[in-house]
Amino acid sequence: MLNSRIPAGPLEDKWTNYKNKAKLINPANRRRYKIIVVGTGLAGASSAASFAELGFNVEVFTFHDSARRAHSVAAQGGVNAAKDYQNDGDSVWRMFYDTLKGGDFRAREANVYRLAECSMELIDQAVAQGVPFAREYSGYLSNRSFGGVQVSRTFYARGQTGQQLLLGAYQALMRQNAQDNLTLHTRHEMLDVITIDGKVKGITVRNLDTGDITSHACDALVIASGGYGKIYYLSTLAMNCNATAIWRAHAKGALMAAPSWTQFHPTSLPQLGDHQSKLTLMSESLRNDGRIWVPKKAKDTRNPNEIPENERDYYLERRYPAFGNLAPRDISSRAAKERIDAGCGVGPMKNAVYLDFKHAVERLGKEVIAQRYGNLFTMYQKITGMDAYQEPMMIAPAAHFSMGGLWVDYRLMSNLHGLFVLGEANFSDHGANRLGANSLLQACVDGYFIAPRTVMDFLAEETPEALNASDSFEQAAKASKDEVEKKLNALLNIKGTTTAEEFHKQLGRILYTKCGLSRNGKDMAAAKSELLELQQTFYKDLLVPGTEKDINFELEKAFRVADYLEMALLIVEDALQRQESCGAHFREEYQTPDGEALRNDNDFCYVSAWEYLGNNKYQLHKEHLNFEFVELQTRSYK
């Protein structure tokens, strides 16, 4: 039933073949088609700007007060591209292979190849927009390395690469907003997808300043609402990141793929206490020069600078000599957890490991380190009050990126006719583990280069009708608005004693401990009943102050937590059915004698895609992954 619509031909020709055959719409006719874009991060802003440049009629929605606030802004380290500027053996094929292997062979070959293929064009586009990437003294672009690769293919703008790329996309969006064919609505949150006869025809949104609920018609809907890692409550994500847009689409029939694949980033700051609302990420780029270690002896309470070299365990260098401190994220996070669980963790809660720059400062001098990572060291000092030039940083794994998301075919269209899903909101390119600096890349490539082709190809077969709203749309829109109002009022009327935030914290604790960095069948069965109980309590004891017709942050949170509670159950369901370990999904029952992930290609070489049946019931569909061009191999970084 799932058709991934991968074009025929050799791997390196597939995207070209697709583009050559994609249908076009005459420039004069494009304005008759209306495209709605939800989200203004890299994927949303870049696609919306590109659609408007082509002449389509575009309406954009974000819950932020400005498009520039989207969470892409927080990505630090960089963006990958197979330019091979360093003459170090990089190529599109190698980048494709690194990404596929990094994802533990649980992604589609054709999608991953296209990501690598379009990477070069993205760097060109970003430079043209004025993104101030790091440069050599000669004026050429500079590169650095990220985890899971042996070449230097990462382009960066100090520790603020996401911010700079997002500002490029935001400025392109604002440039179009000044013209007639694009309208940007800030402070509007999508709360429902409107479908007619199984086709997506519009969305219902709430104006977060006034509480007004309105419906908007479209001929194609693009959801680029980001990831759902915040479901774990303590995560590296921004406070308002949520799954509501994708979950509402899921409830209307869009399949949710591999929801249990969440990446835990190895270089976050550790949790310091119960009051904490989020964990702050320190860029993976720090692992280029920092060395990760813990004391060899468990429960060592000495100051790190007093621990001599021979009593330090540089466990990544020890276990993975070929990649050392640049082992991929899933492997690095698990190795840290292994040492922390063995009692060698450091810091006040014994939940961290050291990231040490002593050797790098000796080798390169403080000035060079400051130039490379200065803002990260400053940020570390602001948050912890400690000086990382003097003593090692303390870091720990934290929920970060969702590889899972809405299922899409090669065109990035969901099984729901007319719904496209871009960036972190879809599942497509990273398999079971994403490599560093591929997230900004995927969001940009989806938005600038893929969606403009595939959405036009799709629309060329459709009759434009959104601009002349029909009676059937008005009817469907009314039903949708009524349903949204009903749900909001239901949340307001519970009038219990526990806030949405408090429920979210409890939810996060269950998921972290029972379906986090590692999972097992027994814990997950317990998690399931705890989650069901929490969901029941939520609908009996939720406390939301205020009204629907006002600025009401508590109501916004409650709606999102209600969706998170449903999603958490599917995450556990998905992790339970996958009886193998792959990438970030580590089932304790399935590991090699030396503690590495044990994949089962015979039974689990598929992407799970779940259909929503209501009442916490889901139907599993499988998209089998066919590897035509590479051989499946056991992933090794030793």
Partner: protein
């Protein structure tokens, strides 16, 4: 630790607004200021009140959404620090804090500590971009940009759009914000063709939004979380005068 908060409450732009007093116990020195407000809000909600409306998203000092005035300090008593990156260890146990929104005519108050900074978006819309469509770009390394110039462009481009520069200025001028974007784009070869129009259009929009004039006190640079230099303002004035 304990703190007494006098916190600004205002139902909307037409309302006059006033300070409301709250006493907080059980605070930890490692809490950030927004985390303290989360704590306060739970307390208010549970006693049947209306929680304080405030915005804060990334809590890493990069999204630019937060920003309050704390005891007269824009963002924070710490220098070059956003409100979300300010922790309670910056205050003394038992201290009293006055917390208010950023105030400027061009940033109307929406509710409590929330302000409307859409004027900044309209300044960007008026010319804060390089007019390149998707697909038009040439090969990235075909434009060589000297290392120091790239670093200088980055320094200007680092602006997070929080509005602290406006809030601290006695004239509520947006010259630091506007000049940072004008210079970031116009000093790069890619942005040079539109430089003359860009500076003109953005300054016209800045004035139309009701921001005040710059008298070059340098207060903006002092509070800027990204330490954006006031020299951007002189450089922009040069571009305005001599193109």
């Amino acid at each position: 630790m304990k703190l007494t908060l006098h916190i600004w409450r205002q139902t909307g732009n037409k309302d006059k607004g006033t300070f409301e007093t709250h006493h907080l116990d059980d605070l930890a020195p490692d809490m950030s200021v927004p985390e303290m407000l989360d704590h306060l809000n739970i307390q208010i909600i549970k006693s049947g009140g209306d929680p304080v409306a405030f915005e804060s998203d990334c809590r890493e000092g990069i999204c630019g959404q937060c920003g309050f005035v704390i005891n007269g300090h824009i963002h924070s008593p710490e220098s070059h620090t956003t409100t979300c990156q300010t922790h309670l260890r910056s205050f003394k146990d038992g201290e009293t804090l006055h917390i208010e929104p950023f105030r400027a005519k061009a940033f109307p108050i929406k509710k409590d500590l929330m302000i409307d900074r859409s004027a900044f978006d309209r300044i960007i819309e008026s010319g804060g971009y390089i007019g390149v469509n998707t697909g038009q770009a040439n090969e990235a390394n075909s434009t060589l940009i000297n290392h120091d110039l790239a670093e200088k462009a980055f320094d200007a481009a680092a602006c997070i759009g929080c509005g602290a520069c406006v809030a601290t200025c006695k004239n509520a001028s947006a010259m630091l914000f506007t000049s940072a974007k004008v210079n970031h784009l116009s000093m790069l070869p890619q942005g040079a063709p539109e430089a003359a129009q860009r500076v003109k259009n953005m300054i016209v929009q800045m004035d139309a939004e009701g921001f005040g004039s710059c008298t070059f006190t340098g207060a903006c640079e002092v509070v800027c979380p990204q330490s954006i230099s006031v020299f951007n303002i002189t450089e922009m004035n040069g571009r305005w005068l001599w193109g």
